[in-house]
């Protein structure tokens, strides 16, 4: 971004602030206030059109000015605290710090070194740990997908559920996840405390995707861990020296693409993702996307006839959304992922299954990532990732694009997946927990569901200058089962059981 272009973008932003101030805005309470100026500043800072400092300063001045005119003095002072996206060094591992230097984004102050203590690595587990009965005779099970760890953190990616009941006519199934306390011990006799994190809502769902944190993290040289005891004293042994699985990882350079283009493409993904989850829901996001387009064009960051603008407008047209410009564009102008989503976005044909794979990815955008398994469901899939040097935007929970302050403004890494049948999947949400033991563990929600005939999945991570494609096996056997799914825990004769996801 040249100095002239940056000045033009700053003028645009400041003139928005002047126009808004003439409307005598009232900001209630302390920030952040997602007003027009804040949103435009976040957009322009995300693409490097203005520096985060300048964007934060304009927001601060606007909020202070508004406070002075509405006799609400709070913002006059509180506005000195910059928005999170404008704080230099406030979040040393925040995603945006790893953006393209070409668009003015900052370089990370710390990066995990290859092979260093912060580099996540994963091993496949693929075992089921049956749990003793808890309330009302209900007993659960932990499906241990993979173990991911760095030098200081370790966690198992777990799919937990209530597997059955030991008594008839007992109470209904608990609405919370099974949380039977287990422990771990290693080959050296070191004991580990475990705790279940990132469980999510107590909403009576069939499956809970969660993380079983280990404290401490296994020391270097540890050969195996045993997790348990579960029902009848059963334990699961995890071989930490197991060779990498059959995951194929390819890294490819990609042509330079401006951050603004990536932002609009990400906005398209968000529109499709949210529309796939709930028909008509993309309309909620359309206003924000329209504003993003307007700000990028108005600030001179993109031309109105930029291909990224035209294809997003074309997508909007196909979704029945008014994005403020454009009309139909030929399908060939749209990314293959969008075409796939337009066709299969509302599919509900996913299998209940798990895929306990493990893959350590090369560095991308300053981040190190390890894939730690997946659970498939009829309406989507949950991919477990351990990350170092990157974390998703938001405060622990991000539902992409559903709010004006959420993404699509996180441009550091973009995620897509394509299964072996050619169906594309978008990440519609990410979740990370606050616990230190599971730091770096992220759940990514893919939509639409994996095709029932899929046998592998390409997980595609795109950074500023390269793309990583990791082809992970879904383990589907010829008879339709998923061999990665171990046999069910023994159930007392004549008692009801939950359906086996492997069948």
């Amino acid at each position: 971004m040249s100095g002239h272009a940056a000045a033009a973008a700053e003028i645009y932003l400041r003139l928005i602030a002047e126009a808004e101030l003439r409307q005598r805005p009232v900001l209630s309470g302390p920030g952040p206030h997602l007003h027009r100026v804040w949103l435009a500043a976040a957009t322009l800072a995300a693409v490097g059109a203005v520096s985060p400092d300048v964007a934060g300063q304009v927001v601060s001045e606007f909020e202070a000015s508004a406070g002075l005119r509405s006799r609400n003095i709070g913002p006059v002072i509180s506005s000195l605290r910059r928005p999170s996206w404008a704080r230099t060094g406030a979040r040393p591992h925040h995603a945006r710090q790893y953006g393209s230097a070409a668009v003015g984004a900052r370089q990370p102050p710390t990066r995990p070194e290859a092979g260093g203590p912060d580099v996540p690595t994963a091993v496949q587990v693929g075992a089921r740990l049956p749990l003793p009965a808890e309330r009302e005779g209900w007993y659960g099970e932990f499906c241990l997908l993979s173990l991911a760890r760095t030098g200081s953190q370790a966690a198992l990616a777990v799919a937990a559920r209530w597997a059955g009941q030991t008594r008839r006519a007992a109470g209904p199934r608990p609405r919370h996840a099974p949380h039977y306390e287990v422990g771990a011990v290693d080959d050296r006799g070191v004991s580990y405390q475990t705790s279940l994190w990132d469980v999510g809502l107590e909403d009576g769902r069939d499956w809970w995707d969660c993380h079983l944190g280990l404290d401490p993290a296994p020391a270097p040289g540890t050969r195996w861990l045993e997790v348990g005891p579960g029902s009848q004293g059963r334990r699961v042994r995890i071989d930490l020296t197991a060779p990498p699985g059959t995951v194929r990882v390819v890294t490819e350079p990609i042509p330079p693409v401006s951050a603004a283009t990536r932002l609009l493409d990400q906005a398209g993904d968000d529109l499709l993702g949210i529309e796939s989850a709930t028909t008509g829901a993309s309309a909620q996001l359309a206003g924000r996307v329209r504003q993003v387009i307007r700000d990028l064009i108005g600030s001179g960051t993109l031309r109105a006839d930029d291909p990224a603008v035209l294809r997003l407008a074309g997508l909007g047209w196909r979704l029945g959304l008014d994005l403020g410009l454009g009309g139909p564009v030929p399908a060939r102008a749209l990314p293959a992922a969008w075409i796939s989503l337009l066709a299969d976005g509302h599919a509900h044909d996913g299998r209940d299954a798990v895929a306990p794979f493990a893959a350590d990815l090369p560095v991308i955008g300053g981040a190190r990532l390890a894939l730690a398994g997946l659970r498939s469901a009829p309406d989507g899939a949950t991919l477990h990732v351990m990350a170092s040097g990157w974390e998703p935007e938001g405060h622990g929970w991000l539902e992409r694009g559903t709010g004006p302050g959420d993404s699509p403004l996180d441009l550091s890494l973009s995620w897509r997946a394509r299964d072996s049948t050619g169906r594309w999947h978008l990440v519609t949400g990410m979740s990370r927990g606050p616990a230190a033991q599971t730091r770096g563990m992220i759940k990514m929600y893919l939509t639409p569901p994996l095709h029932p005939a899929a046998t592998a999945l390409d997980v595609i991570v795109t950074g500023p200058d390269r793309q990583i494609r990791a082809t992970v096996p879904l383990g589907r056997a010829a008879d339709g089962s998923w061999p990665g799914w171990p046999p069910r825990a023994p159930v007392p004769p004549g008692l009801p059981t939950a359906p086996d996801p492997g069948q």
Binding site: I11, E61, V76, I77, L80, R81
Partner: protein, 328 residues
Amino acid sequence: MRPAWWAAFPPCEARIRCGAGEHALRWAEGRLSSAAHDDTEGELVLAALGGEKAGCVATIEAWGVHADDLDVLALGPRSPADDLAVTWELVDELRAALGPAARSVPMRPGPAPGAGRAGPGTGSGPPGPQPGPVAYAAPGSGPLRGGPRPGARPLRGLPARRLSPDQERARAQRVQLLSLFALGRPFQQRLSAEVAAAWSDGGPAGAAGDPARAQPALIAALAGRLAPAAGPWLGLDPDAVQAALHEGPGWGTAEWDGTGLRAALPLSWLARVWAPGFPVVDGHLIVDVVEGSWPQVQVLGLPAPGAEPAVLSIRADREHWSRARGER
């Protein structure tokens, strides 16, 4: 010879509490002064050596600090209808809520925070006058020495989290600026004019960094003040007024572009025309001051976009400017 930027301003005064009494601060011909303190610079030197800084002197010092501060234009008034809710009570509340770091006058050396201090007002019973810094107050609003006005309320909604040293400084500077705004509307206009004048010729002397980096803020300052005046002049939504900075000789341009007004004016327009209060007089957009001084000046005024400017003689009647007699 072109008149000075302050030529169209009348003097103005405000009374502030200073020490045990009240003194008048007077602004005239581009300078703020206090008749009660004829050696301001000497008092500042003494204060730097540990002496007590008088309220008047601290305010004059603060005025100088903010005389080229772009925050003045960012926060200050845009039009006569644009009323800032800055009062002494508000400044006191801010000081009460934010603590000593937000005081705009330096503290004398003294005991550590929380340590007992002998002297009036430090024991039990109602607070009384205390030694220490002088806070500013409107006349007749009660004793203020040593702290905020009694009854000043902590503000709700202020961040309780710790600020960085830079943020602390910024906060103190902002409260200091608000204390200048609290002197009243005439002072707000004059301080705005002073900042605009300081930036009119390539930036203030000794300005840190590249003055060109201030261009966006200056353009926004111009646009934000031209639009509320020029919009009604043409019966337009102010959003239809576009402004740019004119550099070089002449007053600039103002054209109708089919959808709105597109004007390029020098930044000095803010100091010479807008701030004294005559951006539009008798159907003319005033673009420059040719000669004279308050209360009567000759100006260049545009009867319409794209027209040649006419020389008008205008005269002030209190806050209002109109064509001088015999001009019509």
